[in-house]
């Protein structure tokens, strides 16, 4: 455990990625990327150290900061760290949708009330699990990582 392994073609075809960023005011922004199989069991998990943004960066990046931070600086490295190319990457925020700038993988936003549309659009996507649920696991894992120091 702890070393990414080479995926089988079946796992690559079946895996679905969940990508999220979690704000922790004293520390900064953490990123987490969870890959699961067709019934929601974890295959890989990747997380980042916190990214802090200075006041100057906030001013100079302006409105582009959030998308750049989430998509390129956090999402990009997380997807690059994975050994699996999932059939789709799901995100839970519009800011994280900017990860499309850093990856050729298909990315979709999970919004309240939009699950059924998403499943229909992407061919029976994870029929057995609530698509919002894996994001809860990411948040719990990041919180645990913070506690662990």
């Amino acid at each position: 455990m702890g070393n990414p392994r080479h995926a089988t073609s079946d796992e690559a075809a079946e895996a679905v990625g969940f990508l999220a960023a979690v704000e922790s005011p004293p520390h900064g922004l953490f990123g987490g990327y969870l890959l699961v199989d067709q019934i929601g069991r974890p295959l890989e998990f990747h997380c980042t150290t916190p990214v802090r943004v200075s006041r100057a960066q906030q001013i100079l990046y302006g409105a582009t900061l959030e998308g750049h931070l989430h998509g390129r600086q956090i999402g990009g490295p997380l997807l690059a760290a994975s050994s699996l190319a999932p059939r789709i990457v799901l995100v839970d925020s519009k800011a994280m949708m900017h990860v499309t700038e850093a990856t050729p993988l298909p990315v979709a936003l999970v919004e309240p009330g939009g699950e059924e549309w998403l499943r229909e659009a992407h061919g029976e996507l994870l029929p057995a699990i609530d698509l919002a649920e894996p994001f809860e696991r990411i948040r719990a894992a990041i919180h645990e990582a913070q506690r662990h120091g």
Binding site: M1, G2, N3, P4, R5, E11, G31, L34, V36, D37, Q38, I39, G40, R41, P42, L43, E44, F45, H46, C47, T48, T49, V51, V53, S54, A56, Q57, L60, Y61, H68, L69, R72, Q73, I74, G76, P77, L78, A80, A81, S82, S83, P112, P127, A128, I129, D130, A132, E133, P134, E136, R137, A140, A141, E144, A145, H148
Partner: protein
């Protein structure tokens, strides 16, 4: 005047300094001095550059991979749990003794238990209650655990489901369940009900047979009673048997540290150890220490103060009482308890039934309801007590259950159709302070019995006959009702049960109906279950209500009585 910092002009004009004029108040003229040319360098020193980091560095990533999950395939049309529908999610949390972050992630990143159960191919006879799912989530990640739920909350079901998940995940390949001898049948039945696909080996029989059973491969679950474990302690050590998980049911059996039973259990080579007990072990420090010498040797010791003892075991013990899970529980839980008769009872029963059926068959048209009734009563009495030796599998079970009831400070009612049965039970269960209540007692004696049962803590059980106990009593402080033997009429049984249970009353009542397996009691139960269903169906319609009072609420008919022995009814012969 401005400051004289280099590179900063301090004069309003550049290049020329104009000295002040000198005015002599005594002179007739003012002398203006000649202007002087002052050259001041225009060049400045370079500004200090500040370059705040603008470029955002990519985040550093740490990665974790998990073992390839077992190849369970989802049911094609399984129901998807959703928090949006108000369904709760039960998560398996890492225990406190799991310190490595990667291992803690393993638990945190699993799907919730509801999803796991919904997506697996594991069928369940009925949906577990939320508190039972929490109990399963408590057990699964723990190497050392004590499940101390109050009696009636389904400890064995929770343990079996947790075992099942571990076996399917490949986390446990060989599990040993140890229980009292009288509960082996019960465990076998519950394993078949809650984990039907998991092969189970039951260790029983002569030494050679047991040696072979212990060595069987491909048996993820092995079931043995405490006595067998003591007898085979040497065999297990000699063959170097080890288990990924050992579960001790009725763990108060090992509270005496010096007993052979405790030694045999502690001597088992095991990865995980779980103890199940219905008694509040936190009330007896010595008992707790002894149980933990099996569950987690070295974690606690006798020298610890009660507070430090409690803190040490806090993460390993889970106890719920019916009060704490009241919202999850229905107000009344009915529970059939199949009982396997003792060997003596089985032999006596077999002889009596064969002889009785032969006699009835020989009577032909001369057989009456009374003859059948007499045989049924005789067989039912054997199901209670062996006529020769007095052994009673039902009483053994009742005694074990009352231990937990009494230890929890609760009270129980026990019903039987025979006063002699109540008196035999009272003699055997003296340590629970049994009180008897039946129609042969005076009103004053009956009132006194009720008063003492209600008001005095030393009386954990009240033994009642159906007739006397079924009417006019209010015993709602009793949380447990046992039907030692069944009555003929489900309505009368319900009245008896309702002594303890009322719609809207606080608390949940657990009703346990003892049923001797493979006997007339099972056959009667099937007939009564049909009548109860008929009664409920008829009462659901207004026009059937009056008829229901006469028909479906009554006892067995002649045809039904004869059918208990596969005999044709001889027609409307006089009883």
């Amino acid at each position: 005047m401005h400051n004289h910092k280099p590179g900063v002009w301090s004069w309003p004009t550049a290049g020329v300094m104009i000295p002040a004029a000198t005015i002599d108040p005594d002179a007739s003229t003012t002398v203006l001095p000649s202007p002087q040319l002052l050259r001041v360098p225009l060049e400045t020193t370079a500004a200090e550059v500040v370059s705040p980091p603008v470029r955002l560095e990519p985040a550093r990533v740490t990665s974790y991979a998990f073992r390839k999950p077992a190849p369970l395939r989802p049911e094609p049309a399984c129901r998807r749990p959703s928090a949006a529908d108000g369904e709760s999610r039960t998560r398996v949390s890492p225990p406190a003794d799991v310190v490595k972050l990667s291992e803690r992630f393993f638990y945190l990143l699993q799907p919730d238990l509801e999803t796991t159960l919904a997506t697996s191919r594991l069928a369940f006879p009925h949906r577990p209650y939320p508190f039972q799912l929490e109990g399963i989530a408590f057990l699964v990640p723990r190497h050392a655990a004590v499940l101390a739920d109050e009696m009636g909350l389904g400890k064995s079901m929770q343990a079996i489901t947790a075992i099942r998940l571990l076996v399917h995940a490949g986390e446990a390949r060989r599990v040993l369940v140890v229980c009292p001898k009288g509960l082996v049948f019960n465990w076998r039945r519950e394993l078949a009900e809650w984990a039907p696909e998991v092969p189970v080996a039951v260790i029983e029989g002569d030494p050679a047979r047991r040696r072979w059973q212990w060595s069987l491969e491909g048996m993820p679950v092995v079931l043995a009673n405490y006595e067998v474990l003591v007898r085979d302690e040497g065999l297990l050590a000699e063959t170097g048997q080890s288990f990924d998980l050992v579960v001790c049911d009725e763990a108060q059996r090992i509270k005496n540290r010096g007993s052979r039973t405790s030694e045999a259990v502690r001597g088992l080579s095991r990865g995980r150890a779980w103890a199940l007990t219905g008694t509040p072990i936190e009330n007896a420090a010595a008992d707790l220490v002894s149980i933990f010498e099996f569950v987690s040797p070295g974690l606690v010791d006798d020298a610890m103060t009660p507070r430090s003892l409690g803190e040490s075991v806090a993460d390993h013990v889970l106890r719920r009482t019916k009060d704490t899970v009241l919202d999850d529980l229905p107000p009344r839980i009915d529970h059939d308890e199949p009982i396997e008769l003792s060997a003596d009872q089985q032999e006596s029963y077999r002889l009596a039934e064969e002889e009785g059926v032969l006699r009835l068959a020989g009577m032909g048209q001369g057989a009456t309801i009374r003859h059948v009734f007499e045989l049924v009563l005789r067989l039912k009495q054997i199901c209670n007590f062996d006529p020769a030796g007095g052994s009673s599998a039902k009483l053994d079970r009742l005694e074990a259950e009352l231990e937990e009831v009494a230890a929890s400070g609760k009270k129980a009612l026990v019903f039987s159709q025979w006063v002699t049965t109540l008196e035999r039970i009272a003699r055997r269960l003296g340590r629970f302070g049994p009180l008897v209540y039946h129609g042969g007692m005076s009103t004053a004696a009956r009132d006194e019995a009720i008063g003492r049962f209600r008001d005095q803590p030393g009386h954990a059980v009240l033994l009642l006959s159906y007739g006397a106990g079924a009417v006019g009593l209010n015993l709602q402080f009793s949380e447990y009702v046992f039907l030692f033997d069944r009555w003929w009429n489900p309505a009368v049984e319900d009245q008896a049960i309702n002594r303890a249970h009322r719609i809207g009353a606080a608390g949940s009542v657990t009703v346990t109906r003892f049923l001797a397996t493979g006997t007339i009691e099972e056959r009667i139960d099937r007939v009564l279950a049909g009548k109860r269903a008929l009664s409920e169906a008829i009462l659901a319609t207004a026009e059937g209500a009056a008829e229901a009072g006469d028909r479906a609420g009554g006892g067995l008919t002649q045809e039904e009585l004869f059918s208990l022995f596969d005999l044709p009814s001889p027609g409307r012969a006089a009883a």
